[in-house]
Amino acid sequence: MMNCRKPSKLMSEEMDHDLSGGRRWSLRLHLLICLGCRNYRRQLSFLRQACRHEVAVDDTPPPAPPPN
């Protein structure tokens, strides 16, 4: 059974790339039983939202940049 230290790293990694099957499952299992880590996870996505809030970062490709 995972403690919380390892999941805290996995939850961060999950925001940057897909976790392999085994690591994803052990994280899922841990989250089922750990409220602290579920809160941590929501807080990480809040950090992302806050960073992107004011700067209009979105997924639509911008028009071609002007010549430099």
């Binding site: 403690n3 919380c4 230290r5 390892k6 805290s8 790293k9 961060s12 990694e13 925001m15 940057d16 790339h17 409220l35 602290g36 880590c37 809160n39 941590y40 929501r42 807080q43 990480l44 809040f46 950090l47 992302r48 939202q49 806050a50 960073c51 992107r52 809030h53 004011e54 700067v55 209009a56 970062v57 979105d58 639509t60 911008p62 028009p63 940049p65 002007p66 430099n68």
Partner: protein
């Protein structure tokens, strides 16, 4: 477009930690944007576009800084042991550091004081760690791109991002969500 200037400057200063280069980047981005501004009837689209130009300028400046001899590798700035106090010996959260429910944190977006604290917390992160985090979250780069720009392994990149998030959430927790600030 002048309306965005303050936001652009905040964005650039946070990432470059240097007022003069931030002002240069904003000015260059505005000049470049002016050439095509009349194509944008909608303010929101214009803003997205101007920020995308500014992002490219910031990446250029970071690219130059990485080549300077004073450049410090981000993976050396924070040690995982710095987080030891948060966890008990068996690796579970200590009861007083266990992440609590932040309620409806998006409400804070409307509050100017929240943004001052948010910026303060970003500034408290070590410079190179903060740079990796902001390249990911504010410039919107993928980790592969960051690794290439900063000549880091993917694994080091993930480790640094993890430490940055850990530090930033802890700072916001102490300075804002648990400080009773937001209800004042």
């Amino acid at each position: 477009m002048a309306g965005f200037q303050r936001e652009m400057l905040r964005f650039a200063v946070l990432q470059l930690r240097d007022q003069a280069s931030a002002e240069d980047a904003v000015q260059e981005a505005m000049l470049a944007a002016l050439q095509g501004a009349d194509r944008f009837a909608e303010r929101a689209k214009l803003k997205t576009w101007v920020f995308s130009i500014l992002r490219n300028k910031i990446v250029d400046i970071i690219r130059r800084r990485v080549r300077e001899p004073s450049y410090q590798a981000p993976e050396t700035e924070i040690d995982d042991a710095d987080f030891d106090p948060l966890f008990s010996a068996n690796g579970h959260w200590h009861s007083d550091s266990r992440p609590a429910d932040w309620g409806d944190p998006e409400k804070s977006f409307e509050n100017q004081r929240f943004w001052a604290i948010f910026d303060g917390c970003l500034n408290r992160l070590p410079a190179a760690t903060a740079r990796v985090f902001m390249m990911r979250e504010m410039l919107g780069l993928e980790t592969d791109e960051i690794c290439t720009e900063l000549a880091m392994s993917s694994n080091n990149c993930w480790v640094v991002l993890h430490r940055a998030r850990m530090g930033l959430r802890m700072c916001l927790d102490q300075q804002w969500f648990n400080a009773g600030e937001q209800t004042r």
